[in-house]
Symmetry: C2
Subunit: 456 residues, 2 copies
Amino acid sequence: MAKEIPYKIYLDEKDIPSAWYNMRADMKNKPAPLLNPGTGQPMTAQELSGVFCEELVKQELDETSRYIDIPQDIRDFYKMYRPSPLVRAYCLEKKLDTPAKIYYKFEGNNTSGSHKLNSAIAQAYYAKKQGLKGVTTETGAGQWGTALSMACAYFDLDCKVYMVKVSYEQKPFRREVMRTYGAQVTPSPSDTTEVGKKILAAHPGTTGSLGCAISEAVEVAVTNEGYRYVLGSVLNQVLLHQSVIGLEAKTAFDKIGVKPDVIIGCAGGGSNLGGLIAPFMGEKLRGEADYRIIAVEPASCPSFTRGTYAYDFCDTGMICPLAKMYTLGSDFIPAPNHAGGLRFHGMSSTLSQLYHDGYMEATTAVQTDVFEAAEYFARVEGILPAPESSHAIKVAIDEAKKCKETGEEKTILFGLTGTGYFDLVAYEKYNNGEMDDYIPTDAELAESIAKLPKVN
Amino acid sequence: MAKEIPYKIYLDEKDIPSAWYNMRADMKNKPAPLLNPGTGQPMTAQELSGVFCEELVKQELDETSRYIDIPQDIRDFYKMYRPSPLVRAYCLEKKLDTPAKIYYKFEGNNTSGSHKLNSAIAQAYYAKKQGLKGVTTETGAGQWGTALSMACAYFDLDCKVYMVKVSYEQKPFRREVMRTYGAQVTPSPSDTTEVGKKILAAHPGTTGSLGCAISEAVEVAVTNEGYRYVLGSVLNQVLLHQSVIGLEAKTAFDKIGVKPDVIIGCAGGGSNLGGLIAPFMGEKLRGEADYRIIAVEPASCPSFTRGTYAYDFCDTGMICPLAKMYTLGSDFIPAPNHAGGLRFHGMSSTLSQLYHDGYMEATTAVQTDVFEAAEYFARVEGILPAPESSHAIKVAIDEAKKCKETGEEKTILFGLTGTGYFDLVAYEKYNNGEMDDYIPTDAELAESIAKLPKVN
C-alpha cells in the first residue's frame, strides 16, 4: 500500500471552488439550443423566464463564459458539507488484487444523500434573490427532492415536489425527510394537474416517470403566481453547478500529483457525470490532456447506447421546450426497476453533443450485476452505495479486473454520487433473489422513438 | 461570523489517535468491579473469557494503563471514515441569534450512521485475532448491529444480531442493511433461546428491550463453539474504544486554539458520552482544567436522574455479571417510544462513578421537545439527526438560548452521534402530531428498582 497517499484526500474550506466551470465555453460544437415546440425556433431568455428563474436562464443560455462566480451565500452553504472527500479505495484494490489505483469522489455525506444539493442550493438561492414565493420540481429516486427541500428550508422558500409514483411507493421514508424539511410531496402522475389527469387517462396504472413528474411540476409553476420550476438534472445550468464535483476532484488529484486515466460516472439525466468530468473534459476539449471517459447507464433505460440523437421533449406531457439529445422518446416509460434517478428517457444536451463528437464512451449494466457490485463494495469499503452510483462501481470494478489481467497500473476515478439508505426495498429484493433484469426490446424502443416530434 | 474558524475542522489522517485513552487510570475512585451473580465475588478474567474475547477482557479489567495502543489493522479501518469532522454550527448560532459558539463532533458520516463503528471494528478485530468463528450481539436502534455487521464483513466473521422487537418493527430497513453486510438478524425476545422463551412467557406482547436482547445474544454465544458475545455500550472496553471521539475533538480544538466550556452528550448505556468526554474528563480528574459536562437522557428512561446507584444485572434475563451503576432495575422495560438506542435500564459503571462523584451533571428531555430540536437543527444545519443525538441538540440549544439571555459567549460542544435516515417512522409520527411524551411514574420505577439483586 502506497502509504504516502491517505485514504481520504480532504481539501481545505478555501479549496471549495469560487467559480463554476462551464464546459460549453470550450466546446467547438456547442450543444444545440432549446426550441420552442410551437414555433420550432430557439427559446429566448424571455420565453424561458416564465418557467425558470431569471439568473438561471442566463446561465442556461451562456455558452461563452468559461467560469461563473459562485455567490458567497452559496459558498457558505457549501461549507456545511463540502469539500467532499476524494477517497482512495485501498480496501477495494486489495480485495480485487488489482494493480489499478481506484479513487472515488464521494458526494453522499449530506442529508440529501447525493450530489443533488450542489445545484439545489444554487437554484433556491436565485429563486430567493428574485423574490419568489416558492419553487416546484419533480423527483425520481427522491434525492433531488430531498436536496431541494433542504435548500428551500435554508432560504425559507415554499417547495412543491412531484415524486415519481414508483419511487414514492418504494421509498416512503423519502417523503418524510422532505416533509421534515417542510416540503409538500405529491405522487406523480396525480390528479392535481391537467397534464397528470391526461397521462393517467392514457396510461392507467402507470408507475410514473421523471418525464411525467416534470410535466406536472412545470404546469404548477406556470399557473401559480410567484413560483418557478427548477430541475435537478439535464439542463446546462445543472451541469454548471455540479462542476464543483470535478473541480474539487481535480484539485485533490493535483495535490497528490496524480492524474486519472479513466473517469467513470453513472448517467441518468447527466448531472453527476457532467459535474464529475467537467474540468477533465475541459482539458480534453482544449487538447491539454487526454482521459478515457465512460458513462454508465442502466440496461433498462439506455438513452446513450440505444437511443437516437434528435430533438425531443424533456417531459412526457410535451409541454416543455424541445432539447436535442440522445433520447428513447418522451413517451418511453422504463420498467419499475430500481435504477431510481437513472430512469429519464433523455440525456443532457451538453453530454449528448460530447458523446456525439466522440469525447466519451457509454456502456450499460443490468440491475443484478449492479447490486452485486454494490454489495461487494459495501462490504469492503464500508459505504452502502445508492443503486444509481453502483452502476459506476460495477464498471470501475470491471476496469480494475481488466488491469489485473493486463498488469496495467491504471488510475481509475469514479463518482460515488450517493448513499443507499433509502433504497433498502431494492436491496431487500436483491438479498431475497427477487430482482430481475428488464431490458426493453428493440420493438418497444422503436415504438417510442417513432413518436419523436416533427421538428427533426 | 468569525471567518478564521472554518465550518468543519478536519484533521489529517495522521491525527487519528494511535492509542485509546482509559479514563479509569485517572479516576481516584475506580468504577466498582463486575460481580459474579452466583458468588457475589468480582468476576475474574477467566470467568469473563467464556463470554468475551480474551483481549477485550484484559481491556475491561485494566484500570491502570492510561493509554492502550490501537492495532494498525483497526487504524487502517478507521481511515475509511475518520477523522470525523468537528463542525462549527455557524448557521445554528445565527438562527438562534446567540453569542454562544456551538460546535458538534459529527460521528454519523459512515454507513452504520453512528459512532458505534469505532468499537465494533475493535471488537471484531480481537475476535478474529483469537480465531473465532463469529460473534453475537444485541441491537436497539440498529446502529450497533449495523456497525458490527460492517466490521464482521470486513474481517469475514459470522455475525448474529438480536434486535429489540420495537426497533425491528419500526426500522425494517435496518434489518436489510445488516443482511446486506451478511448478518443474521432475529427480533428479540424470540423463541430461539431459552431466556427469550422465558421472557415471552413472563411478558406476553412485550416490545422488547436492550436487556432482553442482551440475554439472548449472551446465551447463544456461550452455547455455541467458537462464538463470543460483544456489546456496543455500557462496558469499560467500549468507552475505551469510543475515546477516539473525544481525542479527535480535543486535537481539533487545540488546533484552532479553542477550549469548550460545556460538553453535552446523550446517554443510553454511555458509549458516546464516555467517548466524547474522555480526554476532557481526564484533564478534570487530574485537576488540569474544568469543564461543565452534561448527560442528557430520555425522560422515558431516566437512569441517571431517577435511578438508583446499586449493583444490578445488565440484562433482563439476569444471566450476565452484576454491574454497579445507576439503574432503573433490569426488569424495567421503557415505553415503546423513539429514543431508540437510549432505552437501556442502566448506565456505564465508569460514568456512574463519575456522576456519583460529582464530575458531571445529568438532565432529561421529553420526546416531542427532542424532535422539535431535531427538526429545527435539520433545517438550519442540513443534517437529519438521529433521535438519540437530538437529546444533546435539545440541551445544546437550551444552553445557547441561556447565553443569549445572559450575554455570555460560552463555547458549547455536543456529540452528534448519528443520522436519522432509519428513524423516519418516528419523524413521520412527529410530523403528524401523533407522538406522545411518556414518562414513567414513581410507582413504576419503585416496582422495578425493588427487584434489584440481593448483593446490594
